[in-house]
């Protein structure tokens, strides 16, 4: 009798329909193993681990995540073959290169992370959404002024073709705060030196914006040199330049970006028929200050104000 019961249970376990019990299959494609990417991936993985299953009562976890490092793959074709074999319910692309590699999967929802200019990659595809890296200029300006309330004149060197919209938003925010904005437009990095020279004595701080034309190793060096020579703080947008000599920056938290992407993934998988999920802004930002540079520039900044967070 017992033997018969065991045989029945085994048969039920073998022929039970997998669709009703399996977890969601997510393929996470990461451009490379640099720390920001891995932190964002960890945030995504941890948040998915904490989430309850949304499909099938018999599944144990929300999703099964397969990680693929793009820089370690032979080429895009092999990566795509691997993804097709997995038949994922969702693809997470971390970094611009990863998004470029997977954007051709038009029928699979794709969420991007840490992509500076996603519009240039996606071209408005409906199955692609993600977390924007742009922090609202109002937030940034408010944070800068909190640390440096004496700033009245802000200088910006940028390429209008690349960051014209951003500068417009900055100008609007500056106007609201009563800050005078002096903008110099450059079409080539070689012009940055002379443009900076034209700002000598004109500004209280130099706002470095994410602009592919004017943000090169040499231009950044010029700006930092300008900062030290003219005792003008440089307000940056990423930790990378704070460590090299910028005075401060308002940056997003990579881990929380991953968590926010995970929330978006759950939302998209919960309603597969939904299309055109809009991108969202970073969940949490923080202020980074290079105190040594601030001291050299003669700025009085209290150490406990180095990090700010907010929605």
């Amino acid at each position: 009798m017992v033997r018969v019961l065991c045989s029945i249970i085994t048969a039920v376990l073998i022929f039970i329909q997998p669709g009703h019990c399996r977890a969601m299959e997510i393929v996470a494609v990461v451009s490379s193993r640099i720390p920001p990417y891995m932190e964002a991936l960890a945030g995504f993985r941890d948040d998915c681990g904490r989430a309850v299953p949304t499909s099938g009562l018999k599944s144990i976890t929300f999703a099964t995540i397969t990680e693929l490092i793009l820089s370690e793959e032979a080429d895009f074709a092999s990566l795509r073959t691997t993804i097709r074999t997995k038949k994922p319910d969702l693809i997470l692309a971390v970094g611009t290169n990863a998004l470029n590699a997977v954007k051709s999967f038009a029928k699979i929802p794709i969420i991007y992370l840490l992509v500076p200019y996603p519009e240039a990659v996606t071209g408005g595809l409906a199955n692609i959404s993600g977390i924007d890296m742009t922090i609202a200029p109002e937030v940034q300006l408010a944070a800068f002024l909190e640390q440096l309330p004496t700033i009245k004149r802000l200088g910006i060197v940028h390429d209008p073709s690349r960051s014209g919209d951003l500068v417009k938003k900055i100008r609007a925010a500056a106007n609201r705060w009563g800050i005078e904005l002096k903008v110099r437009e450059a079409q080539s990095p070689r012009q940055v030196h002379n443009l900076l020279q034209s700002l000598i004595g004109e500004i209280d701080a130099l706002w470095m914006v994410p602009d592919h034309t004017v943000t090169t190793a040499e231009t950044v060096e010029e700006m930092l040199l300008f900062s030290l020579e003219q005792r003008v703080p440089v307000l940056s947008f990423t930790e990378k330049y704070v460590t090299r000599g910028a005075t401060m920056a308002v940056v997003f938290d990579n881990y929380s970006m991953g968590e926010k992407a995970a929330a978006m993934a759950r939302e998209m998988l919960a309603d597969p028929g939904r299309a055109g999920v809009p991108a969202v802004s970073p969940a949490r930002v923080k202020m980074l200050i290079n105190y040594r540079v601030a001291e050299k520039l003669g700025l009085a900044i209290l150490p406990d104000k180095d990090e700010k967070t907010g929605d």
Binding site: S31, S32, G95, P116, R190, P210, T216, A217
Partner: protein, 663 residues
Amino acid sequence: MNDFFHFLKKLNNNFAAKVFIYLMAVILLLSGALNYIYLLEQQRSLRTEMVRGGSLLAEMISETVRLGVFSENINGIRSSVQVAFRSHGVMGVCVYNRQGDLLVAVFDDHFPDQKQRCLNNRTTPVLSGVAVNTAAFFHDDQENGIMEFWSPIVISGPNASEDAIYFDMKREGQGIRRELIGYTRIVMAKEPLHQQMRGVITKTLVIFASILFLGGLLTLFIAREVTGPLNRLVSSIKGYGINVAGTDQLGTLAGTFDSLVNQLENSFATVNDLKKGLEDKVGELESEVAVRREVEAALRESEQTARALLNIPENSAVLLDVRGRVLDANQPMADRLSMDRGALGSRILWDLLPAEDILAQKRGEIDEAVAQGRPLRFEGGHDGCYFDYIILPISGDSSRTGRIAILARDITRRVVAEKNRQDLEVRALTQAKLASLGQISAGIAHEINQPLSYIKVIYESTLRDIELGQLDQEELVEDFTEALRQVGRIALLTDQLRNFGRPDTDQFEPVFLPAALDRTMILMGELIRSRNILLHRRIDDALGLVNGNMNKLEQVFINLLQNSVDALEPEDGGEVTVAMTMDRDNRITIRISDSGPGVSPEIRGMIFEPFFTTKEVGKGTGLGLPIVYGIIKEHGGAISYESTAAGKGCFSITLPGAICEGE
């Protein structure tokens, strides 16, 4: 010139000068070679240092002017290159753009020619092939006495990806672009290098001179130290009067060395001879020591033996020192000397002995034996006590520590028993003689009666002739002559009897055996004839002298002849043969055989035992053959019973022949 050659010759004859010159030559060569190597190494090092310094300076200027070239900021470039002139020997700095066009040329005012040369110089051939990753390189312009160092000016360029704006992608090698934007040219004069080289050469020459000076002093010291003992040796050789010859000290030594070697060889030969003699002597001494050790061991053993003998209760024993003082004595010796054993200590033995004591009488012999270190043994005694004395000299470390052990074994009982035995033997011999006489007396009586009867007949015939008056004188002479012969016959017989009956002595003297045998046969003659026995005499009268006792030998022959006669039946007659031979070893064999039945094999082993006899009771005593056996042994001979081929008996006696002094 002559003085110079004379000086050279004098140097050649001086060993110290030669040592000095040779060492200085070695130092000169070594120092020169080392300094030359040092000079080359310094030159190479200075040149390498200049090249490295120039290359580093070019790379540094390239890095300094990078932003200026990137933004084409001429003033910035000009101010940046000023730092290059802080380095020694920099004549000028030129900065070019990527196309090789001169952007800035800054030269020291002292070198206008070089500036003009650089302005006129085409850079294209030099810069062709220079890439982003090209390291700084140099060009050695020998003609103008300058070195030019070139280094590319490289910038990172625009970011490769949008992500690189935000993130540091260097770890993954992404987002990094390097771009060649110009060149730096440093013109350096080689004069500073030449100045340094001149300084190095000067320093090297000073070191060389210093080494030569110090080496010269050291060499001089060594030469003096080395030749000092040599000079003393030569002086010493001269002091010994050895003829020295040679141009310098070494030559002198070489010359004298041969003669010394010859003398040494002779000396060695002498030493070897002496050594061989010494070895022989040592060998002898070793043998002597070994013998002495053996003797000492033997003597120690003797002393131990003596002390052991001292403790034998049957022996009287005393241990003396060389002066005769008693060191130890056992109780029998104390009893013999009638003294307490404890009182004997330290007494002189010779003072305790009575004059008649054999030890006192033999003191001279004892002292002589002790002096010669040989043991002495003798027997003797008095007052009915007899001792066997053994005198053992025991050597010590010196003559004063020698010891004398005297052992005296009481042999009184043995001596008395020996005397009794000898008395018994004499008595037995006498009895045997008497027995023999008894047995031969009848024959002797008949032997005497016959001449007496003949004499009686002569006397009666003569008396009758006298009475008848018919006495014939011639007949009378014949009768009386015959009568005297018969008297002589009787006298001979009685003579034999008297000799046979004379007392026995132990003295040995030369005995002529044929005579002894004849006398025996005379005594036994009548008995043999009366038994109708035929006696054969086979004796070579020229042989048979022995050293012995006549009486005892006659007794032997009588006993044996008597045995032969007794072995024959009285009615059957028979034959008795007496034979004597002598072999090459001067041994005499006497065989007495008879035609009787002989002795049966069963009892042959017992015939020489006392009181064994096969004769009827009353006829034999059983002592005849034992007496014969004892007498023959006493004479150093042997007797045996042999059975002839015909089964007849034969007694064979072997005696050693006497050696005549005349032979």
